[in-house]
């Protein structure tokens, strides 16, 4: 399984294309114009917003109560009463997919958010201060990269219980390293630039320098990684459920729905059980990735259309 792939960087300085001017915050209009040219990203934003609204509003939108079973009806494919069909115990799949989306999207968004925050924090500190702090933090990153993900997840879930909160904590704790490295590289390269010298000379405090001058120039890779982290978290949750390390009933998520339909993958009559949760999952991840693409193009002043 892969998580958010980092942008190119280790200890080197490939962050900005050679000779490019850093994008200052006042070029917001420039950014917006570039972003809106990326039609796929625009569509993705709309679709994502739609999914978020529909899933988090499941309480009002879903036709049936959550997890409600009905042993009297025969399971069947999409019909007028059940747009997405019903499963073996008579649950309405549309309802389940919507409620499942709540958890999957929540996990994805929360993991991306927290791992970004931690990663930016650690990376900025390491890159700016260098020296011992950098070495220490870099070793911390190495530590997290060495320890196998699954071991941590398996053990942590065992001890914290398999709730969505514990998943968010664990997945965020495993996902911040990339952003940290990326931000560190960016900060390393930017801190030498003249405008930072100027800010320092004018007496700005370190946090101020970092926040107001350096980080805005890293926004590109940060945003891209954050969006990719969403996708990775959603998929990782499904994978963990397959291995038996995931959420437990009565919780429902796209991962759980896909797993319950594992054998439906091969049957024509039951394929709808896999199709709908799978469709939502794939569309979400696609949109998130296109969004990331759009952001990357928008932040890169040299991209051509």
């Amino acid at each position: 399984m892969t998580t958010a792939p980092p942008l190119p960087n280790v200890d080197t300085e490939l962050a900005l294309p050679a000779g490019a001017e850093p994008v200052a915050r006042s070029n917001w209009q420039l950014f917006r114009r570039r972003f809106f040219r990326h039609k796929l990203a625009l569509i993705s934003i709309v679709v994502l917003l739609f999914l978020i609204v529909v899933c988090f509003g499941a309480k009002w939108i879903a036709p049936y109560p959550k997890n409600q079973t009905n042993l009297l009806i025969t399971p069947g494919g999409p019909s007028a009463k059940h747009w997405f069909g019903t499963n073996g115990v008579g649950q309405d799949m549309l309802t389940q997919v919507l409620y499942g989306g709540q958890i999957s999207l929540k996990i994805g968004l929360a993991v991306a958010f927290f791992s970004t925050i931690v990663g930016v924090f650690v990376g900025a500190l390491a890159g700016f201060y260098r020296g011992w702090l950098d070495q220490g933090l870099s070793r911390l990153v190495d530590l997290f990269l060495i320890v196998p993900e699954l071991a941590i997840v398996g053990i942590a879930i065992q001890r914290l219980g398999a709730t969505d909160t514990s998943f968010i904590i664990v997945l965020a704790a495993l996902g911040w390293m990339y952003i940290a490295r990326v931000v560190r590289g960016q900060v390393l390269s930017i801190r030498e630039k003249e405008f930072v010298e100027a800010a320092r000379a004018s007496g700005a405090s370190t946090p101020r320098i970092i926040v107001r001058h350096i980080l805005p120039n890293c926004i590109g890779p940060i945003m891209v990684n954050a969006t990719l982290a969403i996708a990775a978290a959603v998929i990782f949750e499904a994978t963990l459920t397959y291995l038996g390390l995931g959420l437990q009933p009565p919780a429902t998520s796209w991962g759980i729905l896909l797993n319950q339909a594992e054998s439906a993958v091969t049957s024509t009559s039951q394929f709808y059980l896999v199709f709908f949760p799978g469709l939502f999952l794939v569309v979400t991840v696609l949109c998130v990735n296109f969004l990331g693409d759009g952001l990357r193009d928008a932040f890169d002043p040299q991209s051509e259309h």
């Binding site: 280790v10 490939l14 050679a18 699954l150 071991a151 979400t284």
Partner: protein
């Protein structure tokens, strides 16, 4: 260069040690290896015996230290589950996984680089869109779903539809009964597990290669080369390509650790008894010695791979100063 490598190795050692303690502590405090003896007539006696035998009555640090010193002498202890020597279990499990990772990485690289460069050079063409679309599709699909679908479509369906006596591609293990070695049978077994293992990596790497190739193709020095009249082909392969590989190298090195995680799913679905299966069985059985030995082996792999990645940098771009 040498000092850099040495320094990296030296830095890795304390990290490995700390990580080993964390994993040890986590596993030991989470799983009780005597739990399965509780359901037993003589439970109290057996459990007390086992506790002493496994050294569970000492402190965590003491237990960990014993383990570490033994490991440094090559003795990884015995499994709680099977009473087998951990090192022999690891050795048996390592070989199938190495095969999967080796072939997987090679093919993934070839495909990813090919697709990425093509997409970058022919940006926004129909081919580019096609590859982009399929890449994203595969990124979005969890590996286990891909694996099961692949089996259903490529193994079972042909057998049922065409009434074959045996499937074209196999989904169980790496060899048919009685077969061994590198032959057609082996390849037929290898295709689907390798594909499942790397499908997401291929998609991600090709995106990366495309992105970094684009970055480089638009760089000043490339523009200069073009302006000087250098042929496009030379521009691509002499100047751009090598530099565009650099970010990919990072990603591949980092992803190796995750490919190891991907082994768990692949080996589960395709019934291959490698490191992934061993890990899952040990995790679910609370088999701490095997988990620790496993972790050590994997960690060393990751460190070595990252070192190789750094070496690859310096080969690819002599300008890079590694501080």
């Amino acid at each position: 260069m040498l000092t850099y490598i040495v320094r990296r190795i030296v830095y890795s050692v304390p990290v490995l040690i700390v990580a080993s303690f964390l994993v040890f502590w986590g596993v030991r405090t989470t799983y009780d290896p005597t739990a399965k003896y509780r359901n037993n007539r003589d439970a109290a006696r057996v459990i007390a015996e086992k506790k002493h035998e496994l050294g569970l009555d000492k402190s965590i640090v003491a237990q960990w230290w014993t383990w570490l010193t033994d490991a440094l002498h090559g003795n990884f202890g015995t499994s709680y589950r099977t009473n087998d020597s951990v090192s022999s279990m690891l050795r048996h499990a390592l070989w199938p996984s190495i095969q999967l990772m080796f072939f997987g990485t090679i093919f993934a690289l070839i495909i990813a680089i090919g697709v990425g460069v093509y997409s970058a050079v022919k940006q926004y063409s129909a081919g580019d869109y096609f590859f982009t679309g399929t890449s994203y599709f595969f990124i979005a699909m969890p590996a286990f779903l891909f694996g099961l679908l692949a089996i259903a479509l490529l193994v079972t369906l042909p057998v049922e539809k065409f009434h074959l006596s045996e499937p074209i591609l196999y989904s169980v293990g790496l060899h048919s009964n009685g077969q061994s070695g590198f032959n057609l049978d082996y390849i037929r077994h290898l295709v689907l597990p390798v594909a499942t293992l790397v499908v997401q990596s291929v998609a991600v790497w090709s995106r990366f290669q495309r992105a970094s190739m684009l970055d480089v193709l638009n760089a000043d020095y490339v523009r200069t080369a073009r302006a000087k009249g250098v042929s496009e082909r030379t521009v691509i392969f002499r100047h751009a390509f090598r530099n565009a590989l650099i970010p990919l190298v990072t990603v591949v090195a980092l992803d190796t650790a995750f490919l190891i995680g991907g082994l768990v799913i692949t080996e589960q679905i395709f019934a291959i008894s490698g490191m992934g299966r061993l890990f899952l069985d040990s995790l679910q059985g609370g088999d701490a010695p095997v988990l620790l030995g496993w972790f050590l082996v994997v960690a060393i792999f990751v460190v070595v791979f990252n070192l190789c990645a750094d070496l690859a940098y310096s080969i690819l771009d002599p300008r890079i100063r590694v501080s």
